[in-house]
Assembly symmetry: C2
Homo-oligomer: 278 residues x 2
């Protein structure tokens, strides 16, 4: 093995999201491939992406990819459903390192999981209006029926910390009732914030509905991809050594608090970057 | 009167906000000084401002002011409480046309309205953490006690259209209970979205609490300011003639829908501007 290859294998994985939601993806990567370094970027100055247009989300994503490349990452995970839906195709054409989004891995597992051929997807307005999950799922199996439901209030409720709260239950119930009536047997948590209210969603949907968490599937696919490309880090890595680095475009302190509540160890620090410069 | 002066008087007033909330201020200006042209800018690509830092909000506001000056406005209204709280002082130093925010006019009227010297303020995290209302109110009367309460979920609930809904009632009740317990007799609606749920807030607070709507007071102060500076438009103005122009940084169509529901006439069109270029 050459020194260059070793150096490349030891390079970090870049992970980005519009804000804190992508931390659920970072968390899965930390669990499943603990030897990988991570550089995380949360676009907290321009959050949320879910209600914004394709052009805007693509422009923002492009800036972040340039920032991550400047950090010499070996691969990039678009840990945001809206950015995966709107920008991934463009980004893939523009860079020469592996890049993957959260949508395809989630779509694949959902297509395998459904028995009655009826899959529900919940997400932001952008993700749902893009019909991206339906597009990928139909490429796998044309006969599957995919029903999307935008849930714009769930992100603010999660960010407000109302993870177990009657108000969140009520709002989730309103959004999900429609999907229950349509008799889906599989539900994709199509927004990186939703794993944090997985138990609420699970209770409403009942035991017969399989919940698909794209964060989990994405970490699994990243592992496979890095292995296939000969990029998986073989050396054991302990915390420290700059293993996990966090950057945001605004409000580093608030981000640290939220991140510490999601990840099982305290985040040492998050740095602020002026992302418009990239 | 010289031609130059006439031309200046006929110039539009610039009004800006992080998104749609400032339309409640534009609406008051349309009602109170119907001969004024308006150029409205909503920063829908970077909304919301309420949870972002002083530096970021100031940088964004500065770009918008440059855009409005390129539209040759004669005065600027910062129709956003967070931007008024964080950026107004800086902006005032940088430009040579009159500029006013929504905070001072609201603070003044509240200070006059209170009888027991206990004023409540509800707003975004940014507005509340800045203590800007307290600062202005104490300049008028040092003995007044100002109690701020951040209400981060009210903006998403309003934007989701849940203006009359038990969930909005429940969330508003949680936020407001604290202020009721503290026996305030005056409450400032310190976010431009809140006039849209004025009746909900009024019902919870009861008849004995005076609600102050800074949007209304700001339009009144703008009128006085334009008059004092000899800038009030004397000519009658009908709709059409580009009287009201709307610009946004993203999602022009969605903005138009929301604006049409707030203003009493349909908005002909909203144009998209790449605000990062200013």
């Amino acid at each position: 093995m050459t020194g260059d290859r070793e150096q490349l294998m030891a390079a970090p994985v870049g992970v980005f999201d519009s804000g804190v939601g992508g931390l659920t993806v970072a968390r899965e990567i930390m669990r499943q491939i603990p030897n990988e370094k991570i550089v995380y970027f949360g676009d907290t100055a321009r959050v949320p992406y879910g209600s914004k247009s394709r052009d805007t989300v693509t422009r923002y994503s492009r800036q972040i990819v340039r920032f991550l490349q400047a950090q010499k990452v070996k691969a990039i995970v678009v840990a945001c459903n809206t950015a995966s839906a709107y920008a991934l195709d463009e980004l893939e054409k523009e860079i020469d390192i592996p890049i993957l989004g959260v949508v395809k891995p989630g779509a694949k597992v959902a297509a395998e999981a459904t028995k009655n051929g009826k899959i529900g997807v919940i997400g932001t307005e952008g993700t749902i209006n893009s019909h991206i999950y339906a597009t990928y799922i139909r490429q796998i199996n044309e006969s599957i029926n995919v029903i999307g439901k935008a849930c714009p209030l769930l992100v603010p409720l999660v960010e407000e910390g109302l993870l177990k709260d009657p108000v969140t239950d009520e709002i989730a119930m309103r959004y999900l009732n429609e999907l229950i009536d349509l008799d889906i047997d599989t539900l994709i948590l199509g927004c990186t914030h939703y794993p944090l209210i997985r138990s609420t969603v699970g209770k409403i949907m009942g035991d017969k509905v399989t919940l698909v968490n794209p964060a989990y599937e994405t970490a699994r696919e990243l592992k496979e991809l890095l292995f296939a490309e000969g990029l998986l880090n073989q050396k054991e890595m302990s915390l420290g050594e700059n293993k996990y680095r966090f950057f945001v475009s605004d409000g580093a302190e608030k981000f640290q608090q939220f991140a510490t509540s999601i990840l099982k160890y305290g985040i040492l620090s998050a740095k602020t970057v002026n992302i418009e410069d990239y």
